[in-house]
């Protein structure tokens, strides 16, 4: 081959290589929205992970049933590991433009999704025709996924925090599981008794890393009647008596009573792993935490119960609420949006189907009887139907959640720019949990300055 021929070959190889590379990087082409036989294709994420075999089987059965009922739609399920519980993973997918057509996100993710320019306005599509129970979905939850009067997502789960406690450890410590602590001083006293029975057990456990410490600080300052930001969201509002009380309670339990165990800097999975191993007496969490303790961390339902969040002198003044939903990727076809809404309606918002298929879950020992997700307006026909079906199929002792369910506290949402603020507040939480000489005033002042700086920089 002559030199010019070589040059041509190199140029061709280069062009082909680059072309392949760019093709691999490019976003999907439009013809992926329909299959060869004319079906509308949608990709959906948060399929259960492979280790949860029963849940995967249920999901696949639901997909098959849905496709049978809607022969013009084909669903491609994507399991993205822990993406549904992992903000960094979610951010990476969003930034990389690799989300599925219908993608999962937290209630706090709306601004992030909007900023990325990937959210589709689905206002005109979300009606009773596409989601039969739409009118019964709680308005406050719909608002969380709306911006400027436009709807960008559909809520599928709603939670609020309470006090999760281990009944077995309560009994061992001579405490009455039917009468859990209602105030933080009572939590402290109970934690002390539980820790006294076994050195390896934390009477009360708390987060302080991976932004989860800040998340719990927020729940606990709400319990004191406080807030994290001022009403207008322009300043930090936790360097006050309520914020000090939150940290003082923890410091007292950690160092005065020595009732929180020695290992700190816990984040989400650490605490639940310890709890499932029977090494945690109490912690702040939502009722579905018990489900995670059982399904992911191999604990037992019968060991646990959930009570309302404690307050300082009585029950909490408010509790932290949150949840998640599904967004729609910008650029979907009309048929894809409609198919996506139909699927969400089927899998997440229909009593007796998908996540509300209690008759199927009962014999599988998948928990039935959890008071959450609370998606429908109280006293609406759908809420009543869901409640009746749940009670009729309950396989989890209803007393686990009865205290929590009977005492509904006012729910407050997460602050704006929640993750950045939680990262700062982790530092205050880790301060009182790892340093016996921690200065609470100084910790709060530093955190306040940092949050104010964040707000100024972001405005």
């Amino acid at each position: 081959m002559s030199a010019p021929q070589y040059r041509k070959a190199v140029a061709f190889a280069l062009a082909a290589g680059l072309g392949l590379g760019l093709a691999a990087c490019s976003t999907k082409s439009n013809d992926e929205s329909t299959s060869a036989d004319g079906k509308t294709i949608i990709t959906v994420d948060c399929m259960p992970v492979g280790t949860e075999k029963e849940l995967v089987a249920n999901w696949n059965a639901d997909v098959a049933a849905f496709e049978k009922a809607n022969p013009d739609v084909q669903i491609k399920s994507v399991s993205v590991g822990t993406q549904c519980n992992n903000p960094p993973d979610f951010t990476a997918r969003l930034a990389g433009g690799t989300t599925t057509d219908i993608f999962y996100g937290y209630m706090t993710d709306l601004q992030q999704v909007l900023d990325s320019g990937q959210a589709m306005d689905i206002t005109s599509y979300v009606t009773k025709d596409t989601i039969a129970t739409w009118d019964d979905v709680d308005k406050s939850l719909k608002d969380v996924f709306s911006d400027g009067g436009k709807i960008y997502g559909v809520p599928i789960k709603n939670y609020s925090m309470g006090l999760v406690y281990n009944k077995v450890l309560f009994q061992k410590a001579g405490l009455d599981p039917a009468n859990p602590p209602k105030t933080w001083p009572e939590v402290r006293a109970a934690a002390k008794k539980i820790a006294a029975t076994d050195k390896s057990v934390a009477g009360y456990a708390e987060y302080s890393a991976g932004n989860t410490g800040g998340w719990h600080f927020t729940a606990e300052i709400y319990s004191q009647g406080g807030q994290v930001l001022t009403e207008d969201g322009k300043k930090a509002d936790f360097n006050n008596a309520q914020g000090k009380q939150v940290l003082q309670n923890l410091k007292d339990m950690r160092y005065t009573d020595n009732s929180m165990g020695s290992r700190q800097l816990l984040q989400w999975g650490d605490l639940l792993t310890n709890a499932a191993a029977g090494k945690v007496g109490m912690f702040v969490g939502a009722p579905d935490t018990t489900q995670q303790i059982v399904s992911q961390f191999k604990g037992k339902y019968e060991d646990w119960a959930v009570a309302p969040l404690p307050g300082q002198d009585g029950l909490a003044k408010a509790t932290l609420g949150g949840g998640d939903g599904y967004f729609f990727k910008k650029g979907l076809t009309d048929a894809q949006v409609k198919a996506g809404l139909k699927w969400i309606a089927f899998e997440k918002l229909t009593v007796g189907k998908g996540q509300f298929d209690y008759p199927r879950a009962k014999p599988q020992n998948y928990p039935v009887g959890l008071p959450q997700p609370l998606l429908f307006t109280k006293d609406s026909p759908t809420a009543k139907a869901e409640y009746d079906l749940r009670k009729a199929n309950a396989n989890v002792d209803p007393t686990i959640y009865s205290l929590f369910e009977n005492q509904q506290l006012p729910i407050k949402g997460e602050p704006a720019n929640a993750q950045a603020i939680y990262a700062v507040l982790d530092s205050a939480m880790s301060g009182v949990l790892t340093d016996p000489n921690a200065n609470i005033d100084a910790l709060l002042k530093t955190a306040e300055d940092k949050v104010n700086q964040l707000i100024t920089a972001g405005s």
């Binding site: 070589y6 951010t91 890393a209 982790d426 880790s430 949990l433």
Partner: protein, 315 residues
Amino acid sequence: MATITAPGTTEKLSRSTTASRASARRGRKVRDNLTGHLFLLGAVLCFALFTWYPMIRGIIMSFQKTKRGVTTWVGLDNYTRIVADPSFWPAWRNTVYFTLLALIIGYAVPFFVAILLNELRHAKGYLRVLVYLPVMLPPASALFLFKFYAYDPSDAGLFNAVLKALHLPTSQWMQSPTATMPAMVIASTWMNMGGAVLIYLASLQNIPGELYEAAELDGAGLWRRIWNVTIPQTKLILGLLAMMQIVATMQVFIEPLILANGAGTQDSATTVAYLIYQHGFYQNDLNGAAALGVITLVALAAFSAVYLRLTTKND
């Protein structure tokens, strides 16, 4: 049959032969180079796609802001914002501290381990495998071993049990702001020293034995031999590994992420690389993260340039 050639033809022919030979040589040269380039093409494409393109994209992003899907140029806004981040200076302080500790512990230990291995007469191969073994462990597994067993802050933790047995005060390890960095460096050194030890060993084995024999005849002991023979003879590799160590440790990320669950207690484990991750993936501030990445790139490039200039001058 005799060939009659017109005057000047031979010269013309020889000129044309020379020209065609030169052209053939050039052709061969081009062909040889092109073959080389073809072999390089895959690597070049990989570098372009996965190293240079992201780097250039990161630099561009550091001057932009994306809001509602619309990207605008914001000049140095991301830089001023990132420098104003309350964790910015602690992160740099922690990173420099980690690097200095890594130079004292992580740089010196493999060199001396290599010298000891080189001095051994028996079980050399076996010990080499032992030293290299941690490198074969996935870093996350190795760090989890440290996190849950060695650095357990209770008395049941491996290191605390040893300290207690020696009647020494125990430590909170990753939960102590003062112990966090040394603990991270110890874990990092254990994980990574196998590779450095092998490089040092190879370099040590290239030192002519006569030099040591001469030194021994002059009455030099072990330390004197190390100081006067080993170190001067391995100067080049020592310098190279020092620079590589500094560049690598300035980007320390996995150690704080796993051992300290991120920032550690009160920012004691926050490093620059972890802060980039925190901004990018927890705070949804990819532009700020890109700006911090560029600052790190410039700092490391400047350091490398100064270092290379100084070492080149000395040589």
